[in-house]
């Protein structure tokens, strides 16, 4: 997927023009119908203008938001607010059932507004408490509003609605005319609304305090709306305290709150359109995670930024599975899964609530941050690995240099001197005056024999220390020479070509040690040696048909027993594992009992 995050969650696309026109028409019709009812109940032209402007402004803001931020639910809510704004006006209709619906849903727009405030600007509630508060608002309107309608007689209870409408109705749902009971219920209904409003305010204050500066900037317009909401509360309280004194103060308040309400949808829209806080907080993600975050810390920050406390960050475990920072495997299941690719073998997985996927751009940004972290992490690991390798590599290089020097010294020194001695001895043998003396001849022959043996042993020793042919002609001739001296048949299949000296020497000793192991411990009858180079790897394989059962070498860094010509099978292999690890390679030993031994070394040629 080109490294981009992919999401299993739903992603909403931009609405079609037809849908926007349809929704706009619905809002216009709702306003027109509402105004007709409102006017019928006795509202003046000023009232109508105020009422229409507020409702339509909400609807228009909703449509713009829906168009510009299709993934965000806030646009829907603004539109719902705009349409539900006119619901109460249905009480002015001469149709009894419409009157009942209007009376029932008169406060629905308050619940929608509370919803809007609680989810702004993300379009979804952050905490369970916020979600409960949201549901409580709707429940109050649904249940409380309905109970109130059952007792509401518009002819009797004149001052209970913003509509002064004794002719409205009749209320087909009216069960009982009991003004005292109605007043009590109405009061309780309103107080419940006040309590919920207060709770919403508290929540908003909490969210404000939790918010980063970037988020506060976006929240600010909405918090202007809170001021408006407060004006409503003030109006409601005033109304509760002095229901008998509407007059100028009431009119003024209504006018002020209606007018300032015009600013509310505009404020929401402004905030929404300016919403870069999420992307900003994705930037914050990197800052908050710190320079060397643990997977735990990264997961925590992702949870905050994506607003999903149930989010889990899955990272590849060694065995190919994907686990969260606690080591539990990620199953995905019913939840949405977003993959973040950051190169081979380093992909991460975000398991999250499907709602998170409704903002694909946000997920993409978070994915980019995770990818950045992964690359950084891998880079660090590689650097650390390099540092771990450099020192043993240098030591190994120095050891090989030393071996080469030693072989040269033997060649130039002892071997040459012994050879000269042999020449001299032979001259002596042929020129001795008593050359016919069989005793003397035998002695000279013995000395000569002994000297030849010494030369031979010295040569074997020197070759064991460092094979000169390896430096001169490369791996293939050196391995062929090794095979020729082996007491068991060895088939060498090596691609020609030269490699860095350190790698050639290491490869040579891998084969040499494996051959020694096959002969000494495995009682092999034949051995196959294969050398291939593909890409940047030199692959050396030695396979025998012996008894198997060689112990696997320890991992790099684990101590190997000293001496690589030990008597126990595998001690030499342990030394090999260290040498191979020192050049950044890997050594594998497969040696099931009774089924031969297979040794495979992969050496990087860089």
């Amino acid at each position: 997927m080109g490294g981009g995050p992919t999401s299993g969650g739903r992603a909403r696309r931009a609405p079609t023009p037809r849908l926007l026109i349809g929704l706009g028409t619905a809002a216009l019709l709702a306003g027109a119908c509402g105004s007709w009812g409102y006017a019928r109940s006795g509202a003046g032209p000023g009232d109508l203008v105020r009422d229409l402007s507020v409702g339509w402004t909400y609807a228009a803001a909703g449509l713009v938001a829906r168009y510009r931020r299709p993934a965000n639910r806030t646009g829907d809510l603004l539109l719902a607010e705009g349409i539900s704004w006119f619901l109460g006006n249905l009480q002015g209709f001469p149709v009894p059932w419409l009157f009942a619906v209007g009376a029932w849903g008169e406060a629905l727009n308050m619940a929608v507004l509370a919803h809007l405030l609680l989810v702004f600007p993300d379009g979804r509630a952050g905490t369970a408490g916020e979600r409960r508060l949201m549901v409580a608002g709707y429940a109050l309107v649904a249940a409380g509003g309905f109970a109130r309608v059952l007792l509401y007689d518009p002819a009797a209870d004149r001052a209970t609605s913003y509509l002064a409408c004794p002719e409205c109705g009749p209320n087909p749902l009216l069960l009982r005319r009991d003004p005292a009971l109605f007043d009590a219920l109405d009061l309780a209904y309103r107080w419940a609304g006040v309590v919920l409003t207060a709770l919403v305010l508290v929540t908003m204050v909490r969210r404000w305090r939790r918010a980063s500066p970037a988020r506060r900037r976006v929240l600010l317009p909405a918090w202007v709306a809170v001021g408006i909401a407060l004006a409503f509360v003030g109006w409601e309280v005033l109304y509760l305290l002095a229901p008998e004194s509407p007059g100028a103060a009431g009119d003024l308040l209504t006018a002020a709150s209606d007018l300032s309400q015009l600013a509310v949808p505009a404020a929401f829209l402004t905030g929404l359109l300016r919403m870069r806080l999420r992307r900003a907080s994705v930037g914050d993600l990197l800052v908050a995670a710190g320079s060397e975050p643990t997977p735990h810390r990264l997961q925590e920050v992702l949870r905050q930024v994506l607003g999903d406390p149930s989010l889990r960050l899955g990272l590849p475990a060694g065995d190919g599975s994907v686990t969260d920072p606690e080591g539990r495997p990620l199953t995905g299941g019913a939840r949405a899964v977003t993959r973040v690719d950051a190169g081979p073998g380093t992909g991460a997985v975000l398991e999250h609530d499907s709602a998170v996927g409704e903002d694909p751009a946000l997920l993409a940004a978070a994915g980019a941050a995770v990818r950045f972290w992964l690359s950084d992490h891998r880079l660090r690991a590689e650097l650390a690995g390099q540092a771990r390798r450099t020192v043993p590599r240098r030591l190994l290089q120095a050891a090989y240099e030393e071996r080469r020097r030693l072989e040269r010294d033997l060649h130039d020194g002892a071997q040459t001197r012994l050879l000269y001695t042999l020449m001299t001895l032979r001259r002596l043998g042929t020129r001795l005056p008593g050359a016919d003396d069989p005793e003397l001849r035998r002695t000279v022959a013995e000395a000569e024999d002994s000297l030849r043996h010494a030369l031979e042993e010295l040569r074997d020793l020197a070759r064991g220390i460092h094979p000169a042919v390896l430096t001169r002609a490369g791996l293939e001739p050196a391995l062929a020479s090794l095979a020729e001296r082996s007491p068991v048949p060895v088939q060498v299949d090596a691609e020609p070509g030269r490699h860095p000296q350190l790698i050639e020497t290491t490869a040579y000793f891998v084969v040499s040690e494996a051959l020694a192991n096959a002969v000494r411990h495995a009682a092999a009858r034949r051995v196959a040696v294969r050398v291939r180079h593909g890409g940047r790897l030199l692959v050396v394989e030695v396979e025998d048909d012996g008894v198997g059962g060689a112990p696997a070498p320890p991992g790099p860094g684990e101590p190997a027993e000293p001496g690589d010509s030990g008597a126990a099978p595998g001690t030499g292999l342990r030394g090999l594992a260290d040498r191979v690890a020192a050049v950044g390679g890997t050594l594998r030993v497969d040696s099931p009992p009774g089924a031969g031994t297979r040794i495979r070394a992969e050496l990087p040629c860089e």
């Binding site: 040269r408 060649h411 130039d412 071997q415 040459t416 001197r417 050879l419 000269y420 042999l422 020449m423 001299t424 001895l425 032979r426 001259r427 030849r452 030369l455 040569r459 020197a462 070759r463 000169a468 042919v469 430096t471 001169r472 002609a473 293939e476 001739p477 062929a480 020479s481 020729e484 068991v488 048949p489 060895v490 088939q491």
Partner: protein
């Protein structure tokens, strides 16, 4: 026979020169490094150059490279290389260039005046000389198919001597057999090894060595 000795160890060089002069060989020059060797050869026009494979400065294959330069500059000059180790790949590699007038001996042979002078003579005459130790190693190689096992002991001997680069005449002398008998053996060996018969001596040594190494 005019010979140049190139050997970086002064001690060994002196020993070899003395040994050759004692054997009646005319050592026209001696040198400790391979650098100016082709020029020296061009000036002195020896029959053979006796040359250590490992020479300064890197002590790896200077001798082999010098041999190539000598042959390029003065074709027909024999070159006898001396090697510290038995390395069949190097021996076959050297021979593969042009086995005529080329030899490859183990360094230990310098103690044997007779063998050394014999090899020098053969190389000077345009024949080849491969160390018996190298041939023995090649023959001892364990191989998957047992072709060599199908040879008679006599055929085995003939094969070894051919691999050493010896002429038919030398082989008949060594084995005390007639030329006709030898030819029968050679045909039989080549038949069993599935090699092209009727090869000239120098092509024969290469074919046999290549076969044994393969």
């Amino acid at each position: 026979m005019r010979v140049i000795v190139a050997e970086d160890s002064a001690l060994l060089r002196q020993g070899v020169v003395r040994l050759l002069r004692d054997g009646g060989v005319d050592v026209v020059a001696e040198t400790a490094d391979a650098d100016g060797l082709p020029e020296l050869v061009a000036a002195e026009r020896p029959d053979v150059v006796l040359l250590d494979i490992r020479m300064p400065p890197t002590h790896t294959d200077e001798g082999v490279r010098a041999a190539g330069a000598i042959r390029a500059r003065c074709p027909g000059t024999g070159v006898l290389l001396l090697s510290q180790y038995v390395e069949t790949s190097a021996a076959v590699g050297v021979m593969a260039r042009d086995p005529r007038g080329f030899g490859y001996l183990l360094k230990d042979r310098v103690a044997d005046a007779e063998e050394l002078i014999d090899a020098l003579k053969r190389v000077a005459a345009g024949e080849s000389a491969v160390d018996p130790e190298i041939v023995a190693r090649l023959l001892a190689r364990r191989r998957a198919d047992d072709t060599l096992g199908r040879l008679t002991p006599r055929e085995h001997q003939v094969l070894a001597l051919m691999a050493e680069g010896r002429s038919n005449e030398a082989i008949t002398r060594r084995l005390r057999i007639s030329g006709k008998t030898l030819e029968t053996h050679i045909r039989s060996v080549f038949g069993k090894l599935e090699l092209e018969p009727d090869l000239a001596d120098h092509r024969r040594v290469l074919a046999v060595l290549t076969y044994l190494r393969g």
